[in-house]
Structure formats: C-alpha cells, structure tokens
Amino acid sequence: MRKRIGCLTNSGIISAILTLIFVIGFVLGQGNLMFSPGELNSKMGVPIGGLVSHAEIGNKCSKCHTAPWESVRMDDRCVQCHVDIASQVQDLSTLHGIFFINNTHLSCRICHPEHGGTVSPQTVMNSINFPHETLGFSLNTHKNDLCQDCHPSSVKSFSQETCSLCHQQRDLKFMQDHNSIFGSNCLACHDGLETYGKCFKHDDFPFKLSGKHKEVLCVECHPGARSKADLQSTLQDCYACHQKDNIHSTGIGISCVDCHTTDGWKPAKFDHNLATFKLEGKHVDVSCDKCHIDGKFQGTPLDCATCHVKDDTHNGSFGSNCGDCHSTNGWKPATFDHSLSSFPLTGKHIGVPCTNCHINNIFKGTSDYCYSCHARNDQHNGQYGKDCGACHSTSGWLPATFNHALSGFPLTGAHLGLACTRCHPNNNFKNASPDCASCHGDPAWHAGSFGTNCSACHSTTNWSANYNGPHPSFGDQGGINHGGASCKDCHTVNLKTATCTKCHDSNNPGD
C-alpha cells in the first residue's frame, strides 16, 4: 500500500478531528468568544437596550457583526442600540451629521474601535484615523500636531485665534501683514491642503498669471478679499484694475488686451484694420500721437485735411479729400481725374504738366478758355477770337476745322480745296476782302469790260461764263447767243474786238 502524505497519519487525522471537536464545543458552550481578537470595553455607561457596556455581549458577535451576505451593515447594528446617534446622523448641526452626510463611506468603527481591551478608549480621534477633512479642514499639513494643539479646551470647539497664535510664532511679520490684508477668518480660504497657501497655483484658475501680473501682490488685484468666494469673484476684465492706467482719455474700449500684453504697456499692438480707418502706405509707420492728438482715438476725424491741411499745396482749391488724387504711398504721383473737372483733358492736354496750365498752383478758378494758355500760340493774331476749339482740336493745331460758312464768304466749288494761305496771305483772315478781284485778276480777254464781280458771270465751279448782259443784236440772229456761238467764237482776241470770220466769210453782215 502506498504511504499517505506525512501529515495524514492516523494520529494526524485524529488530532485534526479532536481539534475541530474542541472548537465546536467551545463555540457551543462559550459562544463566539474564541474568535474575538480582544476583549470588549467594559466601561459602564447609560443603559441602552438593557446593556451598560459592550463587554456584556462579548460572546455574541452577531449583535454587532453582520454576515457578509446580509444587506444590513455593522453601523446599522450600532444605531439600533445607539438611537441618539441615529438621529444625529441626519442632523447637519451635529458632529455625526457632518461626518456621515458628506461621507457615506465612513464607519462608526473608524473613530470608535473595539476589541482593544476592557479599558480601551471608546473613542479614538487621533489625527491618523479621524476624518478631519469632512469638517472642511484637512490635517494634511498638520499631521504632526496633536488634537489639543488646535483644540486646547475641547475637540468640539475651535477658535481661529489659535491659528494666528501658532503661525505668528513662525513668522510674526507675515501674519501681521496677512491678517491686515485678508482679515482673520483663516478658514474662509485655508482648507488644510494649502489650496490657497503654498500649494496655490494661479494657473489652476481661469485667470492665468503671465508677464508682470506674476510680480503683483495678491491684494493689488483682490483688494478687500476675505474669503475664497471673494477671491473667485474678482472681476477678470482688464479695466477692473487698469482703469486708472488708461491714457486713452476718450477711450478705445476697455479691453486692454486687444492691444497690450502683460509684459508691459509698450509696445502696443493695435490692429488698425479693426478700425474704420485702415492704415496703409506711409500711414503705417506714423506714430499714434501724430494723428490722435491728446490721446483721443475714438472720434478722430477720418478726413485727410484734419492731418494734412498743412501739406495742402493746392491752397484748398481741391477740397479737403486728398485721397481723390493722392495715395498713402506718397503725395506723388498724384492721380487727378481731370474729367471730374469742367475741363476734361484730351489729346495733347493729357501729357501736359499741371503747372503749365495752373500757374502758381492755382487750380480752382483756372480759366478754361483756350486763349488763357494759347494766346501765344495764336497765329491768327486774335482774328478768330479766343476760342481756339472752334477750329482746332486738342490733338494738335492741324488739321484745323474752320467752318468758312460762318464767315461772310462761304467756300464752294473750287474754293473748297484751297489752302487758307491762297486767299489769306500773311495769315490775314479777318480783313481778307471777299471781292473776287482781291484774288482773281481781270483776264486780259475782258479786262475792264465787266467790272470786278466775277460771280456775275462765273461760278466757283469753273470759269465757264454765263453772260446775259447787254449785247449788240444782229437782227433776227440774236445777240449774245448768236447762232449758238460762244463768246470766244466772235471775240477771238478780246471782248473789245470781235470777228465773224470763224463762222462767216467776212465781217460784214450784209455780205
């Protein structure tokens, strides 16, 4: 037979069984006392539920200990007897109320341990297991202090003078300053976790400290603060603190951060594009005070003349809106739209420098008569008036377009194609004679016969004559249109002589 494992000998098994019997017997006889890790407190108190101390139920574990599968907790068993505590737990004005209402994980045995012996303290409120933070003040930084250090008379009472007395011993000057600034209600801000003490980080809050804000004392931004609520309710807009620093007298809003940083007021970075007046060209480099006199920003006039009246070389003749002609890149080149004036520039006028026409920078009121500029160009010696445009265009003096019909001598026929100088030598136009004889000499053929009015017989189309004046008659052969003959048929030499031999055999009409 194979040997059993060493402990499972007959004597071993018997020993185990005997041990079990002993344990069961003890439990049946003495209750669960053998499982108790220590005696219960036997201090006698007010009778509760027929008992004056816990020791009386030392062998009845189930009076306090609940089975793991039961929903009832041990604390419920406590208050079944300690009914006064049961009512306190619901009352925030009591110590137990404060503990349990905000901390459901707490248990009676944390402060009231048992099985510590018959004379063990029933309440152990040392700083290790006492949930001091549930009272609004953690002992995180006071771990090494005893209860009586802060509660010299009774743990149920506390005076904040205790804080000052102790902390003044550590740093008197600081405490005096601190109390004078923030008052003496220490618990209004201090929670034992140094949240508002040495562990305080301003960046944990919405208002982050940066730049020069980091150097500022708390009281400068939080004057009169006496509690966390006061600190947290401090206004966060720039103007709340910096109204006194505002040099922009009429104001450009109260959001300093739009232009300034916490590193200092200067340099400021104002985005002028946010304003109605956009900075462009040379305006960009101009310092603010050049345009905004005495710190006035809002309401600064937008017209050019406000700043540039001293620069107006036109003496106001073009109005006050410099931008019509000039850009912010500089006064020159200017782009004046002459067509907006009463004298649009055309032709050769376009390339002419302004000063050629506008003497001494006089623009408004400059005469728009041609002669005011072109008198020196008048080759007609004023004979045609001062309105050069009547004949000439701005494209040039020539070709000129003179309407001869406006003169007393309309040009017709062969007169039309003639150069002016044919009839008007030496540019004499106005006094030129309209008589035909002033241009057309009397031809030898009829010299002196018909006077100087050529148009009596001739037209401007050609010299063919059409004479119907007095003429000797030849009886029934007529006179001037004798047999259909032309003048030269009879007057072969001149009108003073005549011959019939061109058609007749002799000059004697009787032959």
Partner: protein, 224 residues
C-alpha cells in the same frame, strides 16, 4: 556557513522582514494591526510558507517516480520555511494572543520548537551523503568485514609500521560504526516518538489555523 546554511538564510530573511516591520511601525506610528494591510499580508504569506513547509516536504518524501532534488535540500527548505513562516505569523498577530488566534500562535511556537528537537534527532541518525538513512544491517555487515580485516592484520605479526597504523585506523573506524549502530537504533526510536508528537501537533495547528482564517474572513475581511 555552508553547514546549517538554511538556518543562516532563515535568520537573514527574518531580519529583513523584521526591518520592514519596523518601517511599517514608524509609518503607522504603532504596531501594525492584524487586520490591516501589512498585518494581513504578512499573515497570508506566513501561512502559505507554513503549508509549504509540511506539504512539499511530505510530497517529496513520498514520491517514488519524481526526483525533484535531493532529500537533504528539501529538508533544508522545510526548515527554512518552517522558521520564516511562523515568524511572519508571529508578526501578523500584532502581539495579541486572544482566543483561537492565540491558540494557533501557541501551537505554531510549539511546532517550531518541536522542529528544532526533531532536527537534532534527525541529524543524529546516520545517513548517506544523500540523506538516506543508513540501514543497521549494512553497518553491521561493514563491521563484520572490518572484524575480518582486523583479525587478519593482527595475525600478521612482525608487519611494518605502516601496517600498525592501518590497523589502528581500522579499529577506530570499527568503533565508530559500532557507535553508529547503537545510535541508529536509539535515534530511530526517538525520531519515531518525535513524529508521533510533531505530526498531530501539526494537524491540530492547521485545523485551528483554517478555522481562524475562516472566522477572520467572516468577521473582519468581509465586514461591512
């Protein structure tokens, strides 16, 4: 230090655990409670070591097919865990010895003392290098053989000095073996008696310990 190295190792281990216990005491500003994290942990580990003390050694002794190291090594392991385990259980007790827990602690101490006695008896039993008990018949057989050799050498009178020295050593060895035979019988009887106490004590201990663990879980660990 090679001799009794398991004792040295156990002592070093206990010193280290003791040091850790001291640190915990400083941290908690008091004796760590048996139901606290450290107290529980040291109790659980100590109990596991104690179970290993009995179970693994017994399994190794009874195993015929598996050869997991020498018996002497397993004995050393048994002694090591048998010292460190109870030491940790003692620390777990937080120096309170009430009720069943106290009884378990007492049984543990008795077992440990018993173990010391048993170790003494055990080492007094002649064994081979591998820790296997020497059989009396083997010893007696050896004595007989040596007897023959002695008689033979004594018969060779007039032998040289070398032979005399050899004869003297042979007689000394023979004497030692005879003592061993006597000791073997005696120690075996004592070891058997010791086993009759040690094992039932161990079973009582483990039974009480299991009941204690069950009660602790019921009344403390699962307490709500």
């Amino acid at each position: 230090m090679h001799k009794n190295k398991e004792l040295w190792l156990a002592m070093i281990c206990m010193l280290l655990i003791g040091g850790l216990y001291g640190l915990v005491m400083l941290w908690d500003q008091g004796v760590p409670a048996a139901s606290g994290f450290f107290g529980h942990m040291v109790g659980v580990v100590g109990f596991i070591l104690m179970v290993m003390t009995e179970l693994l050694y017994s399994l190794r002794k009874r195993s015929r097919t598996a050869r997991w190291g020498k018996m002497s090594d397993w004995l050393e392991f048994h002694i090591f865990t048998g010292l460190v385990g109870p030491y940790m259980v003692l620390l777990h007790s937080s120096w309170k010895f009430h009720g069943l827990a106290g009884a378990v602690m007492l049984l543990t101490l008795v077992i440990v003392l018993s173990g010391f006695i048993g170790r003494y008896i055990y080492t007094a039993v002649p064994r081979t290098v591998d820790g296997v008990e020497l059989q009396a018949e083997v010893l007696e057989q050896r004595i007989k053989e040596m007897d023959g050799e002695v008689k033979k050498m004594e018969g060779e009178r007039g032998a040289g000095e070398g032979n005399k020295e050899r004869l003297r050593q042979l007689k000394k060895e023979q004497e030692r073996l005879q003592k061993q035979v006597g000791s073997l019988v005696r120690m075996r009887r004592m070891l058997a008696i010791w086993h009759m106490l040690h094992i039932p004590l161990g079973m009582a201990l483990f039974t009480a310990a299991i009941v204690h663990i069950g009660a602790a879980i019921y009344y403390a660990t699962l307490l709500h």
